[in-house]
């Protein structure tokens, strides 16, 4: 319905309502806008919360949350102090994150200190065990040295004037002629030879631990076998006899046979006694894992 002056009035009403709408909208926008400082503070708080070491700095994190809440409240006022509160909240969040890292580093340092203490203890134990090892070896060597003349005398007595005894720092060698022990051309013991071997075995048994190398040299052919086989059989027979008379099996050790062209001349039996290293407990084994 058109009335006089109706159009301008309608226009005025429309303009006013538009103005009210726009002002309301702008007011809403202003209210919804958040300062850059507060956004940064929120970001920093989120980083601190998500930090893998956050649990180690719970107090600092709590203080950061309190500071953020204060900043959020102050933001509504929009003052200079609100800006400062947001700044403080951001720094508190950063501090919480750093304190989490600090706690983790302290924990790592404490772990290193404990490991250092344990390793030093182990090194000291190892050094102590090595020292004990050296002392045992020395004692063992002294005992061996003291027992050496006794062994020599016993062997001298055992061969009964039919052999030859020689020695140096490393070994004692008892050389017996083959005919004093074996029947001619055969790997069988002479009558009475077993008694002599028993005396030798006793001397070896009562002496310090040693390795025994039996070397039989025969440059004559056997009745039923060649000289190399005869020498091997005779060596095996002496070993059996010594073992029967109590020489431990681990005392004997094999030695490579010389090639056929390098067999020395002679028909003799060499019993070579070589010092065994002292047996002590392993140093490594005595350490804790």
């Amino acid at each position: 319905v058109k009335t006089k002056g109706g159009a301008p009035r309608a226009l005025a009403l429309g303009g006013a309502s538009l103005l009210v709408f726009l002002s309301a909208l702008s007011a809403g926008c202003v209210r919804a806008a958040v300062s850059e400082d507060l956004l940064r503070a929120r970001d920093a708080a989120e980083r601190a919360r998500r930090s893998p070491t956050a649990q180690s700095a719970s107090l600092a994190l709590y203080q950061a949350e309190v500071a953020l809440a204060e900043a959020e409240r102050a933001e509504e006022a929009g003052s200079r102090m609100a800006k400062a509160q947001a700044y403080v909240a951001r720094r508190k969040a950063e501090q919480a994150r750093i304190e989490g890292l600090y706690a983790a580093q302290k924990e790592a340092a404490a772990g290193a200190r404990a490991a250092i203490e344990r390793l030093r203890r182990n090194l000291a134990r190892r050094a102590e065990a090595a020292d004990v090892d050296v002392r045992r070896r020395e004692e063992e060597a002294r005992r061996h040295e003291a027992a050496r003349p006794v062994l020599r005398q016993a062997l001298e007595k055992a061969h009964g004037g039919r052999g030859e005894l020689s020695w140096d720092q490393e070994m004692i060698r008892l050389r017996l002629p083959s005919e004093a022990v074996f029947q001619s051309y055969l790997p069988f013991l002479q009558r009475g030879a077993d008694k002599r071997l028993a005396a030798i075995a006793e001397a070896i048994r009562t002496g310090p631990p040693c390795a025994v190398w039996i070397r039989v040299l025969d440059d004559v052919e056997g009745l039923t076998m060649d000289r190399r086989r005869l020498a091997r059989r005779r060596a095996a027979r002496i070993r059996e006899a010594l073992m029967e008379h109590g020489v431990p099996a681990e005392y004997f050790f094999a030695h490579p046979q010389p090639s056929s062209g390098a067999v020395p001349f002679g028909t003799q039996i060499d019993l070579i006694l070589i010092a065994q290293p002292a047996r002590v407990q392993s140093v490594r084994g005595s350490l804790p894992p």
Partner: protein, 131 residues
Amino acid sequence: MRLRKLWAFIPMIGLAACASTPPRPAEFAVAREKIDAAEAAFAREDQRAVSYLDLASQEIGHARAALSQNDVVAARAWAKQASADADVARSLALENQAQREAQEGWKEVDRLQDELSRPIPPTSRSLPSSP
């Protein structure tokens, strides 16, 4: 008579002078303490911490300037910011020290493990060998 009138003005002048410099807010002392604490934690020697410490010093300067212009709110705001920066500087310095301590510790652990894995050097005493 004139001289007596003049004497009456002197307390008023004094009061006016007092009113021109407001008292320092408590935030100043807190910020100063925190800066001192950061310096005591060797923040000046830490590359990351020193920038925060410098920031805190600048903010204290701003706070003083604001106070001289009677802007107490701005002065308090700057002082609070200075405190927060000094706190971060101190935390960074301490974290750096702890990190160094941990690194040196684990280096020593490696060295000791290496020493333990090596055999003990043989003793100089020679052992006699004899059967």
